[in-house]
């Protein structure tokens, strides 16, 4: 009898060993059918068309201090960034691309309005901005800091940040000196926000490497993170309060924004309905931080809200009302490599409120958006106009040799103690090895029932470049969201979107009431950054907020675009301006852009 029982147990044991295969089979029963017509099955199709549109940009990486030569590919692994901005206020979104090689040129692509672009960066003085003496570009965000109706350029670098005033779309004037920006800071995240709601845009800068480090002139090699999970030796944070007249004051300490974590991304949004923008920061080598804004003073509540416990490698910060509940979820990208490191990306969904603070749960696994690879930039947007926000994620770290991997070496050093990991000399040489390279991107479509499904290859996203920064915009005013992706050491990609007929949308261009000629009182910044729009239709609602930068080193179009599904009838739209004023539209017309100015 016992013999048979043992035999049965052996069969059970084999069955247990086979379970992973079964789970894999069940998981791979995704709805993505490679032969399906994406327009019919998913309601949209993306076609890469950068060259046809005149976008011939290719990112080049810097060459840093020779002491880092052995690990140069992974240290010089950022800087490809894209921001969408209508710099000449002609109604069409333009593009600003940063480059990072010493002497390389940034690009400002003006949208001609017919689906093509022309580079005007050199002519307007925003091209030649990458030199070892001043540092090289990591990204940009645009905001109208003087309320003159034209978006100004905040360029952040591993080096000196620059503020460039937009002269009515005809050129740019350096405004860095007057603004009092620091002489050197290794910044990888910046956002415009009106944190004190005075009608003038302020801005946040998040340091990655310490500002004491000049990556071209290292005094020693102890500039790496002191830990893979608990590093606090990164760059400081800056909060520049706009005093008007092109002058700013640095108030981070006074405002409670103090951290030395390794910041790679930040997003500002009103997460509590207080009217003030809160600040969420995604940090590499550690936990994320959530600074709630209590009337102009920040308080870090990462642990209280649940987002600040498990340390990972935060590389993205974006917000989206993924469940159409009128509340923002936060998406943070991390590192996932099969069998080696499975951090999983985080989708922090608010599930409750306690003592005025939202409580977040990480529902990334449950909703199917956890495993993305070595993920960087991500943005929410309704790609198929079905009424639910989808998620596009750029992946891939260093694509070099296809035969040799740096993962073993990386895993060796990453687990090491502070004295080992913090000194670049101890890092194994990388040579031509890849690390998380040649990865497939993720285009996760939201089924509206709490699940996302990856349809990237089916809808036309098959590139394997090292994706970094991505932004969404309706470049041709077609009522659909296109995708633009900046790749490290790779070409810029423009995925033009084609949405199946019969899917409705509604969009909003907002303009705050403050003007440059008057001291702002009771009005909102002219860029309307921080304005929230809630669209109510077919018994549901979706909230979006005008953002001064989100994702990874990126900025989406200023316009808020809402997909509505078929035969949609919008009941009402409410706009809450940063000043607190409210505007309500009853039964607004669909399939058009509504241009709204804040009421005086």
């Amino acid at each position: 009898m016992k013999r048979y029982a043992r035999l049965l147990l052996a069969v059970v044991f084999v069955g247990l060993l086979a379970t992973p295969f079964l789970m894999r089979h069940l998981r791979n029963r995704a709805p993505a059918d490679a032969d399906a017509d994406p327009l019919k099955q998913y309601g949209f199709r993306l076609t890469e068309s950068a060259k046809a549109a005149g976008l011939d940009f290719r990112h080049e990486a810097p060459t840093l201090d020779p002491k880092l030569a052995h690990i140069m590919p992974q240290v010089a692994s950022m800087g490809a960034a894209v921001a969408v901005v209508d710099f000449d206020a002609d109604g069409y979104p333009d593009l600003y691309l940063t480059n990072s090689k010493e002497g390389s040129k940034n690009r400002l692509y003006r949208n001609r309005g017919d689906g093509t672009f022309e580079d005007v960066a050199q002519r307007l003085g925003v091209a030649d901005l990458n030199h070892p003496e001043t540092g090289v570009s990591m990204g940009s965000v645009w905001g109208d800091y003087d309320n003159d109706g034209f978006e100004d350029l905040l360029l952040y670098r591993w080096g000196r940040p620059e503020l460039l005033h937009n002269d009515a779309g005809q050129g740019f004037t350096p405004a860095t000196e007057a603004a009092g920006l620091p002489p050197w800071a290794n910044v990888n995240a910046a956002v415009w926000l009106d944190y004190d709601r005075d009608g003038r845009l302020d801005f946040f800068l998040g340091g990655y490497y310490s500002e004491r480090v000049n990556l071209w002139k290292l005094t020693d090699t102890k500039m790496m993170p002191e830990s893979f999970e608990y590093a606090r030796n990164g760059g400081r944070k800056y909060l520049f309060r706009n005093r008007g007249g092109g002058r700013f004051e640095e108030v981070s300490e006074r405002a409670g924004l103090v951290s030395r974590r390794w910041t790679l991304a930040a997003v500002a949004a009103d997460l509590r309905g207080s009217g003030y923008p809160d600040l969420f920061i995604a940090n590499d080598y550690g936990v994320s931080e959530l600074f709630v804004n209590e009337g102009g003073k920040f308080r870090e509540v990462g642990k209280e809200t649940g987002v600040g416990y498990a340390p990972k490698s935060g590389m993205n910060a974006s917000v989206g009302d993924v469940l159409n509940q009128g509340r923002f979820a936060l998406y943070v990208s991390n590192i996932s490599e099969e069998g080696i490191l499975l951090q999983g990306n985080n989708l922090w969904v608010p599930t409750a409120t306690e003592s005025g603070l939202p409580k977040y749960e990480n529902l990334a696994t449950a909703m199917g958006v956890a495993l993305g690879g070595w993920s960087f930039g991500a943005q929410f947007g309704d790609l198929n106009n079905d009424g639910f926000l989808d998620l596009y994620v750029a992946n891939g770290y260093v694509s070099a040799s296809k035969e040799e991997s740096y993962w073993y070496d990386y895993s060796k050093i990453a687990g090491g103690h502070e004295v080992v990991i913090s000194d670049a000399r101890n890092w194994p040489p990388m040579g031509t090895r890849s690390l998380g390279g040649y990865q497939q991107k993720k285009v996760w479509i939201n089924d509206g029932a709490g699940r996302f499904f990856d349809v990237a290859p089916v809808v036309g996203v098959t590139d394997r470049f090292d994706g970094r920064s991505l932004a969404l915009a309706d470049f041709a005013g077609r009522g659909v969201v296109d995708v633009v992706v900046a790749n490290q050491r790779g070409p810029l990609l423009l995925y033009r979107n084609e949405v199946a007929p019969g899917r409705d949308y509604i969009a909003f261009d907002l303009e705050g009431g403050c003007r440059s000629e008057a001291v702002p009182t009771g009005c909102s910044n002219r860029s309307a950054i921080g304005a929230q729009v809630a669209v109510h239709w077919n018994g549901q609602q979706q909230v979006q907020e005008v953002s001064g930068g989100s994702g990874f080193c990126a900025q989406n179009q200023r316009r808020l675009h809402f997909g509505l599904g078929s035969a949609a009838l919008v009941d009402k739209v409410t706009i809450r301006w940063p000043s607190g004023k409210m505007t309500e539209l009853a039964r607004p017309e669909t399939n058009r852009v509504h241009k709204l100015k804040e009421p005086v």
Binding site: R6, L9, P20, A231, L371, G416, V420
Partner: protein, 285 residues
């Protein structure tokens, strides 16, 4: 990992003075690992989640109860299953829940399936983790987080665990492995040209602390003579060094998976032969 019993030769007066010899030694390791788990999670958040770890522990205990009763005829002592479950809960990383349950179930079931002369050959949690790393690599990775930035947690861990492992008479295994690992690190550094500290780095992480104190010292899956335990610890480090030269990320788990049962097998076969030789020969007709 399983629980350990205090060896008679390891009993000394100081243990009597502090009352250590009055504690059921099977509880020492579970108590210690539980403290490490709670401290690590509260201080550094090193678990995937409480719920996943609880799932691993409860599965381990449930399977042990079932199989122990079925095949042993009595309700088994649960310290061993508890440690296996807690090890899985700490060492396995996965965004999913099922790998924690499966790894625990595999670990415990292996004890009842992969047996020879009444002994199980593989360290249960080592087998479970290796099986998951090989068969479910798309969903599972090993523990990679650290215990903060400074040496203090390491010193505390080393102090308490050395105390316990010494009391259990197994510290020579840990010491041999660490010394061998350092020597092989120097050798690998010479071969690969990589910095010596890069080769040493892994052993400074928490995964290795669990590995060197609780996994390789498991009395139920290690050989009996002290000299053989030292030899096996050295061989585990040697095989790991070879695997590392071939860039196996999970070299320590694989090394123990290969060397541990091989050593047990040899010991069991030799014991069999000895028994055969010692048995009285049947009288000639």
């Amino acid at each position: 990992m399983t629980t350990q019993a205090l060896s008679p030769e390891a009993s000394h007066d100081w243990r009597h003075r502090i009352g250590l010899d009055r504690i059921d030694k099977r509880y020492l390791a579970p108590i210690l690992v539980t403290l490490v788990l709670i401290t690590g999670q509260v201080s550094f958040g090193f678990l995937e989640s409480w719920s996943r770890t609880f799932l691993a522990i409860s599965t381990s205990i449930a399977v042990e109860l079932l199989l122990g009763r079925l095949f042993g005829g009595t309700w088994p002592h649960l310290a061993s299953a508890y440690i296996s479950g807690i090890s899985v809960g700490m060492l396995v990383r996965s965004p999913e829940f099922w790998p924690f349950a499966l790894c625990s179930a595999l670990s415990i079931t292996s004890k009842y399936v992969l047996r020879m002369d009444g002994r199980h050959l593989w360290n249960p949690s080592n087998l479970g983790i290796v099986a998951m790393l090989v068969l479910a690599s798309d969903t599972v990775a090993p523990l990679s987080v650290q215990w903060g930035n400074n040496l203090l947690p390491m010193v505390v861990v080393w102090f308490f665990w050395t105390f316990i492992i010494h009391a259990l008479g197994r510290f020579h295994i840990t010491l041999t492995y660490v010394a061998s690992f350092l020597a092989f690190s120097a050798l690998r550094s010479a071969v690969t040209g990589h910095p010596f500290l890069a080769e040493v780095a892994p052993i400074t992480g928490p995964m290795y602390q669990l590995y060197i104190f609780f996994m390789i010292t498991d009395p139920k899956t290690s050989v009996h003579p002290k000299w053989a335990q030292v030899l096996v610890a050295f061989l585990v480090a040697a095989v790991e060094a070879i695997l590392r030269l071939f860039e196996f990320v999970h070299a320590p788990y694989y090394a123990l998976f290969l060397v541990g049962p091989a050593a047990n097998f040899v010991e069991i076969v030799l014991a069999r032969r000895a028994r055969t030789r010692a048995a009285p020969r049947p009288a000639a007709a």
